[in-house]
């Protein structure tokens, strides 16, 4: 059975392991054939900053995991416009292709889901 699942990632890339574990969960769900959407919101938008160098922290790069999304055919990847604006990030070139959503579009996205998994 296929359900529409929205994963929302709220955390910075390396402040904790939450960002990595959220992406792992999204990828696993895609591997199980679910209809996955992924949204970066709040501090989660920092994960899309280009030119990260996680080797300085001896950690796996979030960029590498983000690159796997396409391989797993997770194409519905979104970012919250308000979160970008309030952090002064509206002009960054994100690490991967993301669709920017305003609050109204976010409401629509939320209403389409069978489950929302908020990390």
């Amino acid at each position: 059975m296929q359900k529409k699942l929205l994963f929302i990632s709220h955390k910075t890339p390396y402040g904790s392991f939450a960002a990595k574990e959220t992406l792992d969960a999204a990828l696993a769900s895609a591997a199980f054939g679910q209809d996955i959407s992924l949204l970066f919101k709040g501090d989660g938008v920092y994960q899309l900053l280009p030119q990260q160098n996680s080797s300085l922290l001896k950690r796996k790069s979030i960029g590498a995991i983000l690159g796997a999304l396409e391989l797993y055919e997770v194409n519905k990847v979104f970012i919250c416009e308000q979160s970008l604006l309030s952090r002064g990030l509206e002009n960054i070139k994100p690490l991967i292709k993301v669709h920017v959503l305003n609050n109204l579009s976010l409401q629509v996205l939320f209403s389409e889901q069978d489950h929302i998994l908020s990390f």
Binding site: F110, S111, Q113, I116, S118
Partner: protein, 78 residues
């Protein structure tokens, strides 16, 4: 937030129900349309009187369960 959405404040979120609290979500419309809920135990535990949050419906955990049943989705707002 959408028109049929409702908001529950729980744990430390209950502080947001106080009149002068400055939080990110505009609460006025929710208050006016009766869509603002506060988890009673969490409010009282923190020494905030039940009468303090204006136009908020105080609920128990059973009421919390009813809200989750009522709505297809719950967004745990971090």
């Amino acid at each position: 937030m959408g028109e049929t959405d409702e908001l529950l404040l729980l744990a430390n979120g209950v502080y947001g129900a106080l009149v002068d609290a400055k939080i990110n979500i505009p609460l006025e419309q929710l208050r006016d349309s009766g869509k603002l809920y506060v988890l009673k135990d969490d409010l009282l535990a923190r020494g905030i009187p039940a009468s303090a949050p204006p136009q908020a419906t105080l609920i128990s955990y059973e009421g919390f369960v009813d809200l989750v049943v009522k709505h297809q989705n719950t967004y745990n707002w971090v």
